[in-house]
């Protein structure tokens, strides 16, 4: 399956500049051989890709697509059948998350159960591509070309989620979280139970904004503020605290460019000019929902 990616990358190579080709080539290598190479090598590959991207050497090539009239004509001809491949992906995802985990061959699960939804979507994409090619009678070359065009539209940002996830892990290992939790405890009068709740919710949101990931924030903030103050000192309900606290973190996810796969990748995918367009659209919801969570926890966590 990863060969598709590599082919897109190689196809891109002779289209424009060497450095762009090198970037996609390095990415292809890290994808295909990432599992078997020593981690340090992968680290230096990322360093190389970052330098290429940061120095503006990853550019678009001029891949041509069809014009509007041409598309209207084929839309007319193909009709609603055009939706079939696109709908095939969610359908495969549903079937996949229900059944793929149970497919076994000689007692070994064929599909990695930890990333079930990702695997299902990828399989769905392959099926959809096959159906799409049959439907449009387009040559495979056209699909590779279109895929390559879109990949270049997304550009280097395609590896941003991975890089940010790696950064979050690095922060956790360096013990950044514990330092912040200590600061909060010193700075606030947490002997009041409602202050403890506010500190916890706010901590979840701010940490998520910094780390880009509510799950990473949860362990730090709940360990540092939630459990010692809300549960032990004031006798709050841990289930309510955790559930509402995690969702306060998700409010932070709506607001941060650190959550690249949710907030920056769609900007590239949808070809938006304003980098922060998605965050701007979400900000009112994120803030209002945070206020809701805060009140919900204040009223419920010490009562149930």
């Amino acid at each position: 399956m990863l060969a598709t990616a590599l082919r897109v990358l190689l196809d891109k190579g002779h289209a424009k500049r060497w450095s762009s080709a090198l970037f996609w080539g390095l990415l292809g290598v890290s994808f295909v051989f990432g599992g078997s190479m020593p981690p340090a090598v992968a680290g230096y590959l990322v360093l190389g890709m970052t330098i290429l991207a940061a120095s503006g050497r990853v550019g678009m090539s001029r891949e041509r697509s069809t014009g509007r009239e041409e598309r209207l004509e084929s839309a007319q001809r193909l009709g609603d059948r055009l939706f079939w491949p696109a709908l095939l992906v969610p359908v495969t995802a549903i079937l996949g998350s229900l059944f793929f985990g149970r497919i076994r061959w000689r007692g070994v699960s064929l599909v990695d159960s930890t990333n079930l939804s990702v695997t299902s979507v990828s399989i769905g994409a392959v099926l959809a591509l096959a159906v799409g090619l049959r439907l449009t009678r387009a040559p495979v070359r056209a699909a590779v070309g279109e895929g390559s065009r879109l990949l270049q539209t997304v550009g280097w940002a395609v590896i941003l989620p991975q890089a940010l996830a790696a950064l979050g892990g690095l922060f956790a290992r360096a013990g950044v979280g514990a330092v912040v939790a200590g600061l909060v405890e010193q700075a606030l009068p947490t002997q009041y139970s409602s202050v403890a709740v506010a500190a916890y919710c706010l901590g979840m949101m701010l940490f998520t904004i910094c780390l880009g990931n509510a799950l990473a924030a949860f362990a730090v903030v709940t360990g540092g503020i939630g459990v010692p103050l809300i549960v032990h000192a004031h006798g709050g309900n841990p289930a309510i605290m955790a559930a509402v606290g995690m969702l306060s973190g998700y409010c932070g996810t709506l607001l941060t460019p650190m959550a690249a796969n949710f907030n920056l990748v769609p900007v590239m995918l949808l070809e938006l000019e304003d980098k922060n367009a998605v965050i701007r659209a979400q900000a009112p919801i994120g803030l209002a929902l945070f206020a809701f969570n805060l009140l919900l926890m204040e009223f419920c966590v010490y009562r149930f």
Binding site: G147, L150, A157, F262, A277
Partner: protein
């Protein structure tokens, strides 16, 4: 204290609009160095985490050829035609419906959607098509706004539905976390307490999409320039 320097680097980098990838890597390297890791150890850790998180990028790369192919053969144009047939569809209602479906399905543990899988090929064209059918061609800025709201509809539906399903990563993480501290917490209770926020998220989304529809209508009215103000 000094370990917080990485967060400051990130904030400064974003504020100065430097290359995000560079900011992330520099922040990681500095944080690692002040915590006493060698440069090689940092690269090793970064590489290991980068590779284990490959699954984040995979669906995007896999979806692009399909999306590109379908768009080449008129997917967006067809979405417009489809929307034209249902009179009640507006951009906002399409988005709200998606958020609702996304919340319910992921609460049942079924992951449809995603930005590459659903928003770009399906949701954004349908919402744009609805706007076009109701009010004629929207301005470029308005198209941007509709697309951004489509991405928001995906995120809100995804985030504030998943915690109701007990086998999702975040609930498992919370359960594991409390087990480590020897505090007994039931997964069901945590999932149950996700429901009020899920409902609030849907209500807020209804308000936002309604506001979006009004904004599109206002822009269309202004564009018509009062030439035929009575007709609308």
């Amino acid at each position: 204290m000094i370990k917080l320097i990485g967060i400051i680097v990130i904030a400064a980098g974003f504020a100065l609009r430097l290359n995000t990838l560079l900011v992330v890597l520099v922040s990681g390297i500095i944080t690692g160095l002040v915590s006493g890791m060698s440069f090689n150890a940092i690269m090793e850790e970064f590489g290991r985490l980068f590779v284990t998180n490959r699954y984040m990028t995979l669906p995007i790369v896999m979806m692009l050829p399909v999306v590109g192919l379908l768009e080449r053969y008129g997917l967006r144009e067809r979405a417009e035609t489809l929307i034209r047939r249902s009179a009640a569809a507006t951009a906002g209602r399409v988005l709200l419906l998606y958020t609702g479906v996304r919340q319910v399905s992921i609460a049942l543990g079924i992951n449809i959607g995603g930005h590459a899988g659903a928003v770009r090929p399906l949701l954004a064209p349908l919402a744009e098509g609805a706007a076009r059918v109701c009010h004629g061609n929207p301005s470029k800025a308005m198209v941007e706004r509709i697309r951004a709201h489509a991405a928001a509809a995906e995120n809100v539906g995804n985030f504030f539905g998943e915690d109701i399903f007990i086998a999702v990563g975040s609930i498992l993480l919370m359960k594991g976390f409390f087990e480590g501290l020897k505090i007994e917490v039931s997964s069901w209770a945590m999932a149950l307490w996700g429901i009020p926020t899920a409902l609030a998220a849907f209500a807020l989304m209804a308000w936002r999409t309604h506001a979006l529809d009004r904004r599109i209508a206002r822009e269309a009215a202004r564009a018509a320039g009062g030439a035929e103000p009575e007709k609308a």
